[in-house]
Symmetry: C2
Subunit: 349 residues, 2 copies
């Protein structure tokens, strides 16, 4: 991916949950971000609203931003639609010769006004979710020396992408041959590769996961970004497509302390963690042995002290490493991945 | 659905597995079928090749068929493509003013030559798999008095649609208020209603199943056509979408005696039935209690005697009814559904 000069658009939605795409770009592609645009936050430090983004301050318009070549839509709302109030900003960007990148279900290029403006100004509209992937999973042979780790969780938006990226980066820092497999729009924007599995026709969703791990199987470690949760009735098919398509030998279980009901379905309690963990292991192990190798615990709602306590309690209870990857790093998870790979290589001998 | 006069096209593929769409139309919409077209079988009894279709004989061309208003593509190949050799027959049908109905992944209406011919002759090209369904499952409240039964199985193409239709019809014969929920192209062609869940974007597949059961929840019995299998890595996401979207309280487990490897993946053995049954019950019961209430056993590979033995053995082993719905009818399965509904109504009091 060529280096870009990006303005992130978070207009009216500058908080970590709604603007999770913007946060991830700031965290993992920060060197490319020249400004964050939210006229309602103009002049304030970006980090005070999003938790990342030092030393940037919000700008109120493209006029105020440093020169840039890309406008990137920084939110991923459930409906997938572009707020109508953003239309003038998108058109302004196109008029300035900037490409526009979006991960929404509503495609920019399908909007007649945007498409016409882009044609006139010779810029690209990049819809990260658009794809025409149409291959079923065929359970192709995969290289034995390639360890596949998938992040799973008790719900959506708990840190599965961040955990996968942090674990990959920690492995790389140690000189291991590791690769992050992006499966969602934000992961794809960060890595410049991957497939948006939640936007693929259901007959082909496990095929897409298989395609990605097969394509990169020359690497020693593939860390696959998980999606949804096996117990979330809206998204469980996508989760299962990743489990049966990517065929992980190990999983990292991600959860947020204090979350009690399933995202978007406030009348449905999240089942006990033990039950969710067992279900993930059973469903994955239908095809070949697969087990949870560690925990990534998100302490956003409860703060550091309570999170550290939880990590200690979980380690004691399961005899597996547990950490908050944003504060502790992913060293323990990388250790667990290395250990599992050694184990599989020795047993293969 | 208005009554039609249908010619089924099975050219060169007149055997029960490849032509399963044709077989189901003959079985459940036989009164509408005026001819079956396969020039390689011309003059032979249809039933000798397909096992259903008495008293029809194959015709070699549309010229030889009785007057008809619809050509229906009678096969559903894995690739989803229309064989090139069928092109002249489809164009001939359009030229005669017939509508053409297809359940393939390749859409007739996206073919420039077919589309232009259809426009010129004023006929419809009906692509049953085409849809633009885009709603996530929201776990909406469902009427307690509506019993939802889903057919599941150990693999694909084992009789999940036939079992669902036979069970619905048996309930109707008893005067019960039962409805068949079609979820695949053949079921939709038979019932004139439903959604092709395997062709829906993966984020919305459980939403589609929920939409169908919510729409018909005024009925006392909804019998939902299952798809794929939880242990088939190519199709398990679709299967799970039905389980978590349709939220059955009971499941009928369908399997074929003698099938040893997963369809399309000859190097992958089918896991033991016990394991598959347990997995289905666990995955379904994450949301609310759900259990297997009976077995539909397909004896195509082994014949009646061996099948009857298997039914007796399974009934003894699990204490649940087992039958071959095509030979025995679905009386035992209808009994089990009535019994479960009574049980749920009493416990709700």
């Amino acid at each position: 991916m060529m280096s870009r000069r990006i303005v992130l658009l978070t207009e009216g939605h500058s908080e970590p949950h709604a603007a999770k795409t913007a946060c991830s770009l700031l965290r993992y592609r920060g060197e490319e971000v020249v400004a964050v645009l939210d006229s309602t936050q103009r002049g304030k430090p970006v980090a005070s609203a999003l938790g990342v983004g030092t030393p940037l301050q919000f700008v109120g318009s493209l006029e105020e931003a440093p020169e840039a070549d890309t406008l990137l839509i920084g939110i991923a709302p459930p409906g997938g639609r572009i707020p109508e109030s953003w239309r003038p900003v998108v058109l302004d960007a196109i008029g300035r010769g900037m490409n526009v990148v979006s991960g929404l279900h509503d495609f920019l290029a399908d909007d007649a006004e945007f498409a016409e403006a882009a044609r006139r100004h010779g810029v690209q509209l990049v819809d990260v979710r658009r794809n025409n992937f149409r291959e079923i999973a065929r359970y192709v042979p995969l290289r034995r020396e390639s360890l596949r780790i998938l992040t799973v969780g008790h719900d959506c938006s708990v840190g599965k992408m961040v955990t996968a990226i942090e674990t990959t980066r920690e492995l790389e820092r140690r000189g291991e041959d590791a690769y992050f497999i992006a499966t969602g729009q934000t992961g794809i924007m960060v890595s410049g590769d991957g497939l948006p599995v939640d936007c693929i026709v259901s007959d082909f969703v496990s095929g897409a996961a298989e395609h990605l791990v097969a394509k990169h199987q020359e690497r020693d470690y593939l860390v696959v970004e998980g999606q949804g949760s096996l117990v979330h009735p809206s998204y469980s098919p996508v989760t299962l497509g990743l489990i049966h398509g990517a065929r992980p030998q190990g999983m990292i279980f991600c959860y947020e302390i204090g979350r009690e009901t399933i995202t978007g379905i406030p009348h449905l309690p999240i089942p006990p963690l033990d039950e969710i963990m067992r279900l993930n292991e059973q469903v994955a192990s239908v095809l070949h042995p697969c087990r949870i190798i560690g925990f990534a615990i998100n302490g956003r709602l409860v703060g550091p002290e309570r999170t550290d306590e939880e990590c200690r309690a979980i380690e004691e209870r399961y005899g597996l490493p547990a950490c908050d990857v944003l504060r502790h790093g992913a060293a323990k998870l990388a250790d667990a991945a290395c250990q599992l790979r050694q184990e599989l290589l020795s047993s293969a001998r």
